[in-house]
Subunit: 333 residues, 2 copies
Amino acid sequence: MPERRKRATIREVAQATGLSPAAVSYALRGIQTSEETQERVRAAADELGYEAHPIARALASGRTGMVGLLCGSLEDYWQQSLAVGISRSLLARDRYALIVDAFNDPDRELALARQLRDQRVDGLIVQSLDPSAPLWPELSESLPVVSIGDALHGGRSQGEVVFDNRRGVTLALEHLRDLGHRRVMVLTPTLDSTPDRPADVHVNAEAERLGLEVRVVVAPQSLAETTEAAVRALRGPDRPSAVFCFSDSIAYGVYAATRVLGLAVPGDVAVCGYDNHPMSALLTPPLTTVDWDIDGIVHSAVRLVVDVIDGKPRKRRVVREPSLRVRESTTGA
Amino acid sequence: MPERRKRATIREVAQATGLSPAAVSYALRGIQTSEETQERVRAAADELGYEAHPIARALASGRTGMVGLLCGSLEDYWQQSLAVGISRSLLARDRYALIVDAFNDPDRELALARQLRDQRVDGLIVQSLDPSAPLWPELSESLPVVSIGDALHGGRSQGEVVFDNRRGVTLALEHLRDLGHRRVMVLTPTLDSTPDRPADVHVNAEAERLGLEVRVVVAPQSLAETTEAAVRALRGPDRPSAVFCFSDSIAYGVYAATRVLGLAVPGDVAVCGYDNHPMSALLTPPLTTVDWDIDGIVHSAVRLVVDVIDGKPRKRRVVREPSLRVRESTTGA
DNA sequence: CCGTTTCAGTGAACCGGTTCAGAAGGCCGC
DNA sequence: GCGGCCTTCTGAACCGGTTCACTGAAACGG
């Protein structure tokens, strides 16, 4: 085990400048001291190679400079991008992200939330699997919690970045209707308990409004299973003329199914996705999909949590609107 | 700003049990105390809702339980998967990853490495942009450093997970030769300073050995530019019969180029990638590519760094071998 | 039976900052 | 000339654990 080089402490800087440790502490943070003293302290600190010890600072001040990021599942491209973006964005604000993955297990999610609190993160960004869990209100009282995707029920969390999924559904279905489709199949990850994608309710309402005949089908997790399910659904004589998938990866399964069945996209069946995965532009044909502006979401979430941590009053709730990326999987070449 | 609920300290547990704080500290870690005392202490701790304070522990013991992960660029799918995997793997060992992104800037990389050291991470996993930087030897002396992808020059880092890229090149080129190709174009991200993908040197040597005529072309960063470059390269009369891309995303650009030019894959031109991005199996046609077993790499790196931190003697160097995923982009349907 | 180990537990120092109450000095107005 | 206020700085407590040197007692060995 390598030996850590001993670094200068604040007391040594104090000794070098003839000041008290307290004065040095203040001076280094630029408060409660004269310009001249600050200058002198900085010089001495540089001289000695002094660097603040974040751990000691955290213990004394109660803030760690770390923000917990609790993800439902990092398997998911979407959450992965979010995690990476948030990590970068926090770093730009001199904070670190502690990224943690619940592996799609709500129990584990709650355990990890506690664990992060015990790690003394300054705040928490969470895209919850189970926003109604009783832990959230409790947690929100002891540290700033910002939720992404859906408000945490019951707890008045300190911030929310909400996706307007209804708008996303509307965009996709209107697009399909405008292209003349009447019979649309909707493939959704799960029907219930995906609070951020309330497919069943809103899809049916919108379909009614637009005069569409929809059939909602649950897609399994894996690509292979999704492909099978799509093959079954597209084989019958009452094949829909368009498929709306509630995630791009489901759409990939549909693409695979069309290959199996020898169907042309969009000639025999139009396909519309949800997420705008970068890969979706590269498929043959490129996939029409609902785009979510990840950067904007990241920015909102980080800004919310940081402002709450810093005690700045902030708008508590940000709603992000999706847009539709129209490509050839619905319009043809 | 929400008020943090005050939690029980070790001294309160000591008071409750009539022991000294030191005894409680020992008992909770199961050392230096009798079974019976440990039991009593645990009971009292549960009673009081005591949870260890990681920050205080870190300050006193000098270990934070955090491992820094320094990535060259999280833009890259490859590094993103690695980061996510490492983060999960560390979590499973009760440690946290501090993920940090250098945005492809070697200077920033070094600054971040220092910053992580100052954050007192217990160890560092790094996929360096610049393994020859003079900082590495210095850093390796003050904390465990494990490099992924290429050994850190000069510094005897505490561990290395090395990719056998030569083997990857060999696999791909042999595969193409076996299919009868003679004129192969190689698309590589950059010629120099990609130590983990020493394309130019080894490609030429292997091509010679296999009797292939290769042309090495540098692919730009973005997909659009890559597509343009590929269009230019594939348009001329001396079009190669196969393209070997040093990353799957470059291959995506080649796919786009073949669409522009109306070329059939693999009929007019066979394409082989490198990385085995999950999406590559979904393209039309599915992409033949060199696969790297990310889980294995993750596991090796985490194991190395954790063992060094824990002072366990370990094999210092692990070499990972790639395998070839043969799909239709070279063999046809 | 007495000297030597081992074991369980104690007290105090320590990790390296922050923060609070208070003191010294300078400046102000009256 | 004096009370009051502001600025700058100090001393000491504190954050909440860990660890080291040491003690008393029990176990052990010859």
